[in-house]
Symmetry: D2
């Protein structure tokens, strides 16, 4: 069953005029970004509550990652403005952010269940970026 | 089955120290805010693609509503900082925004399937705000 | 001298069709929201770096306040969608958020220069909300 | 005279532990991102009010650019989480977004004073990204 966002994207005018875009990969990325933003936000808040030293980099990266995945999601949701070169650059940036944040979170996975779950959401989002980038590369010859 | 955000909220330190909060109503509001932000973002983009006159107020309100529900969601995801009076004020504001946006979108529901779906997402989010406000009023004596 | 945002607001079509709005109060609020968002973001990051216990509420509220003032600013920057009742509700919410965040930050003002400056930015933003609300109440009979 | 954000960045703990970062270039980028986000937000709203056809791509790109520059700004404001490779990728993405948005806006510069001013803000932000990237490349050997 399709969720409402997928339905709206599917029936939007700007999407109809496009061809060759892998809609499944895009919808997957939208959902992974949304889940990752939420996980990073809760994870940062939980680390604040723990009040342990040595977690400042992780907290700060989680906040960056939440903002980055949010922006990535918003860009996907606006087909009228798609610019493939900008999209590719942002997916690359988002993938690097999610990977770096997952690595940082994994350093506290033993101490914090939240960090472990957050790292998992980041890894899934990085993988979704990678799949979408591959799909876009196949589709069009980028300069 | 719980999604990951619900699981993380449930096991977060700051949530554990709270009692009396209606977790089901909160999780529902988080999901409604996320769905509403996405619907409003796609809806605004689709109206841009339609290029019809008379839709500027609707587009602009959809963008406001996307930002507002996003902020509401983020506040819910940060239990360490909960301040009940601020939360109530923001839920009131969010409910009014969603209701106004739904009313505006319904004026174009005949012309645009996206506006119709967006109005539905806004109504659901307004209702979720209202339920959460009721739950919070029961729970605590607000000054 | 006007900054670029003020110039753009001044010459925007939707603003021209409005009358009675206090443009100076609005521009002041836009600038206070922007400054407050920046101050709250840096302040939260600095508290993370300090790694002291007892600051989780303050950090979390700073993040909420950054998102809230950002949304308030965006709404002001979109005159096509102005809905006075929603604006009033959001200003009320924003004012309460900034006041609560300032109070929390002031509790660490002795230990942290950042918290002291952040509290000042929050207070200024709360005051700008209040001035704008007064200006709007004078202008129109709200139901 | 320094503004408050620059003062706070300057005295933040995480900044003190860093060396070699070009603080002037960073502060410039923060201000350019903030100005660009505001310009893009007003510009998109004004195009909505104009209700002309053929502007959907420009409106949608302005919204993307507003979200992107906002995220870029937030990342700069969080020194505790700096990861140089992620920063470089996001600056590259932000520079491409601002350049593409400026190009699109310049296509309507004759019709719209807002598009002309917005294009100028985008160009300045792209240039600020480029200067910061150069400063960072000089500073450290990136893998």
């Amino acid at each position: 069953m399709m969720n409402m966002t997928a339905q709206m994207m599917d029936s939007s005018l700007a999407m109809k005029s496009m061809s060759g875009l892998d809609m499944a990969a895009m919808q997957d990325l939208i959902e992974c970004c949304s889940a990752c933003e939420q996980a990073c936000t809760v994870c940062a808040d939980d680390m604040m509550a723990m009040g342990m030293t040595g977690m400042s980099k992780c907290m700060s990266m989680c906040l960056d990652c939440a903002d980055m995945t949010h922006t990535m999601m918003r860009m996907m949701l606006r087909p009228s403005g798609y610019d493939m070169q900008v999209m590719m650059a942002q997916m690359d940036s988002c993938m690097k952010m999610c990977t770096a944040c997952a690595d940082e979170c994994m350093m506290h996975a033993e101490m914090s269940e939240e960090c472990k779950m957050c790292a998992e959401a980041c890894r899934q989002c990085a993988a979704a970026c990678e799949r979408m980038m591959s799909a876009m590369k196949t589709m069009m010859p980028l300069k």
